[in-house]
């Protein structure tokens, strides 16, 4: 051991102290106490890594919303400034990001991140600092069982309720044509699994036998064996608690085994614009729940679709819509509370208002229970004639439910 060794360590420590306290300071919390400066809104999103695809969709939605607010005179007469950080699809990072947004960047408001796996750690930080936390993507049941009173999910229904309309439609079918058996395959992810489990519970209660119930890890790429099990069971219904790539792989693997169910439903993937390209012509009859459709005639929706189409040259998808909805919900709370600053009083006012009131959004009117669960249900879409159309519930349908589905 060198004699001067210890001293050098000490000096290093001191240097680091200076660097650390000096460099991450970021911008001071300007305009914090409700001044005339812009309202600063902080978000952390998975822009790189495993969740980056939907993360970018949410980012587009947030940015479109901010631009729209900007063009329409702002909030409370103040402009809105978005600060987006990349959490690299990592839970440790997402917490650090909100810590930074709230403390170093001095934001007035925060929006939620994407993916259930990231929502809980992020919501914890927001709650500890008393911030309102409206989030576009944490739909799994568990998110609402953590005792967060500051959390609101900005979509019509939690994951377990996504298939409610489909479950009703199936149980209402006449005995003769009603499916008898069902096969479930879900990704081991709280959201994806939640959707499949929700439907499974309801169908099982209605006497439709569960013949296959598979859960696969998120990194699964070979679906041959799962598909073989499902095909072997000859289930009438196949339900996929899927995200994106897994649904595509599973469908291809099922087709490779020439398995022809009467009804096939997959979450998330079929609403992705890439889906028909990946599956080809065999999408016909595939069902999917969605919290959003550009065709919906809610008052603000047309404005959103037009604005978004003008900006991006394409219709918004569910990710963008959920982000926009988050913006709408927070904006409603800000307007009602008459303030937008990080103080506990202001945030508390907004939280209390949202617990007691309904907000009209692009996905319809939303209201929440005390844990932040939205009280609606998802629409059910189906590929009909090569287009994805709403088939359930009856009052919103654009096309008739096709049953049994054509061969794929």
């Amino acid at each position: 051991m060198d004699i001067a060794h210890g001293l050098r360590i000490g000096a290093l420590g001191a240097t680091v102290a200076l660097l650390v306290s000096g460099c991450f300071g970021g911008r001071p919390a300007e305009g914090g106490a409700g001044g005339d400066g812009p309202i600063r809104v902080g978000v952390s999103l998975p822009l790189t890594g495993d969740f980056s695809e939907p993360g970018k969709g949410v980012q587009r939605g947030y940015e479109a919303w901010a631009k729209h607010v900007y063009e329409n005179g702002g909030l409370l007469g103040r402009q809105v400034e978005l600060i987006v950080l990349d959490d690299q699809s990592n839970a440790d990072r997402v917490a650090a990001d909100y810590e930074k947004l709230i403390n170093s960047d001095g934001v007035d408001l925060v929006f939620g991140p994407f993916s259930t796996r990231l929502v809980i750690p992020a919501a914890q930080v927001a709650r500890d600092y008393g911030f309102l936390f409206v989030e576009p993507a944490g739909a799994a049941r568990e998110v609402f069982e953590q005792g967060f009173d500051n959390l609101f999910y900005a979509a019509p229904a939690i994951a377990q309720d996504h298939y409610d309309h489909l479950a009703e439609a199936i149980t209402a079918m006449p005995e003769a044509t009603r499916p008898k058996t069902a096969a479930y395959a879900a990704m081991d992810d709280p959201f994806a699994q939640g959707t499949a489990n929700g439907l499974k519970e309801k169908l099982a209660a209605a006497g439709i036998r569960t013949v296959v119930d598979e859960v696969y890890p998120p990194n699964t790429t070979d679906f041959g064996s799962i598909a073989a099990k499902i095909a072997d069971s000859r289930a009438d219904v196949v339900v996929g608690g899927t995200q994106y790539q897994d649904a595509v792989n599973l469908i291809v693997a099922l087709r490779q085994l020439n398995y022809q169910p009467k009804l096939a439903a997959f979450s998330t993937a079929p609403t992705n614009p890439e889906f028909p390209k990946a599956i080809g012509a065999q999408t016909e009859g595939i069902l999917s729940p969605t919290g959003y459709t550009p065709e919906a005639d809610y008052p603000s929706n047309k404005e959103f679709v037009d604005f978004y189409a003008r900006e991006h040259g394409a219709a918004p998808t569910e990710d963008e819509a959920n982000a926009w909805t988050t913006g709408q919900v927070v904006a409603a709370a800000v307007t009602a509370a008459g303030c937008a600053d990080p103080s506990k009083e202001c945030q508390r006012k907004m939280i209390d208002w949202l617990h007691a009131n309904e907000v009209r959004t692009v996905v319809g009117p939303l209201r929440w229970d005390s844990a932040g669960r939205p009280q609606g249900a998802h629409l059910i879409q189906q590929y009909v004639g090569g287009e994805i159309r709403i088939v359930l519930p009856a009052e919103a349908k654009e096309a008739e439910l096709v049953y049994p589905k054509p061969a794929w």
């Binding site: 695809e53 699964t220 790429t221 041959g224 064996s225 595509v248």
Partner: protein, 292 residues
């Protein structure tokens, strides 16, 4: 019964691909005592190149092999010459793991930069096509992938057993010092061994791209099973790795029936631990593993 048979067939088909990739890993280990963590990352890279090739030109992904195989061979020689050969022999095994791990991270990061994290899948007209085989339904793409693996493995076998270069390579794998005394330029042979190993990743990547979605972090899903295979097979034994790959592939697929996907994956690791407890040198391998 038919389900079991179906799983058996699927297991064999998957085992073929595993065998091909494990052969590559075995080559690296044989010539340099290197556990090449980046093998799976290059596998994914090759899959991306096949995807980009098909999307860009509209031609069949198989044609991308014309480019990727020589390219990967050259990269393999480069990796050996420029990186691995610089390590001190005394710490070669440990440090090469870290070095190739670093390469894997860099490849994954680069893939993310260039292709983004979006999941990709080859648009193939014959993706859903299938053949009936003794009552089992076999996807055409899986059969093609298996065929690619078998042909490549056979080619590798011929190369190793028949050609002069193969003899030199095998001599180097068995005993580097002795090979050098016999006049083999072991440095050059080691470089070519690396090149060959990486070329198997090129073939494997194309085979993989036929029937799976690909994304930059996919390689993590491959590293574990491949590592288990080469230990069970006996480090440094090409034949042992191939047998282990087939057995473990079939075993995993059959176990999926009673256990489900997730627990079935643990089969690889269970086999790895059992091997190390009962027979650390591997079940089919030579004596190399005893010392490493």
């Amino acid at each position: 019964m038919s389900l079991v048979f179906q799983s058996l067939v699927l297991g064999v088909l998957m085992g073929g691909l595993y065998a091909l990739l494990a052969a590559g890993l075995t080559l690296y280990f044989g010539v340099m005592r290197v556990v090449m963590i980046a093998h799976a990352a290059f596998l994914v890279l090759a899959a991306y190149l096949a995807w980009a090739f098909t999307v860009g030109t509209g031609l069949d992904p198989m044609l991308s092999l014309v480019v990727t195989v020589p390219l990967f061979f050259a990269v393999g020689v480069g990796v050996q010459r420029l990186l691995v050969a610089r390590l001190r022999p005394a710490t070669m095994t440990m440090m090469s793991v870290l070095l190739t791990f670093a390469v894997a991270l860099a490849v994954e990061g680069a893939l993310g930069l260039v292709f983004t994290g979006t999941h990709r899948r080859l648009p193939l007209s014959y993706a859903g096509a299938r053949l009936e085989l003794f009552g089992a339904s076999v996807a055409l793409v899986k059969l093609i992938a298996f065929g690619l693996a078998v042909v490549t493995l056979a080619g590798l076998h011929v190369l190793l057993k028949v050609t002069r270069f193969g003899q030199a390579l095998r001599a180097t794998m068995q005993h580097r010092e002795a090979a050098r005394l016999l006049g083999v330029d072991t440095d050059r042979v080691a470089g070519y061994g690396f090149g060959l190993g990486l070329a198997t990743a090129a073939v494997g990547g194309t085979a993989l791209a036929l029937d799976a979605t690909i994304y930059p972090s996919l390689h993590w899903a491959w590293i574990g099973p491949l590592m288990a295979i080469i230990v069970v097979g006996g480090l440094g034994s090409v034949g042992g790795a191939a047998i282990a790959a087939l057995l473990l592939g079939v075993g995993q697929n059959l176990l999926q029936l009673p256990l489900g996907t997730t627990w079935a994956q643990t089969f690889f690791y269970a086999a790895l631990f059992v091997t190390l407890i009962l027979r650390p040198q591997g079940f089919f391998g030579g004596r190399l593993a005893q010392r490493f």
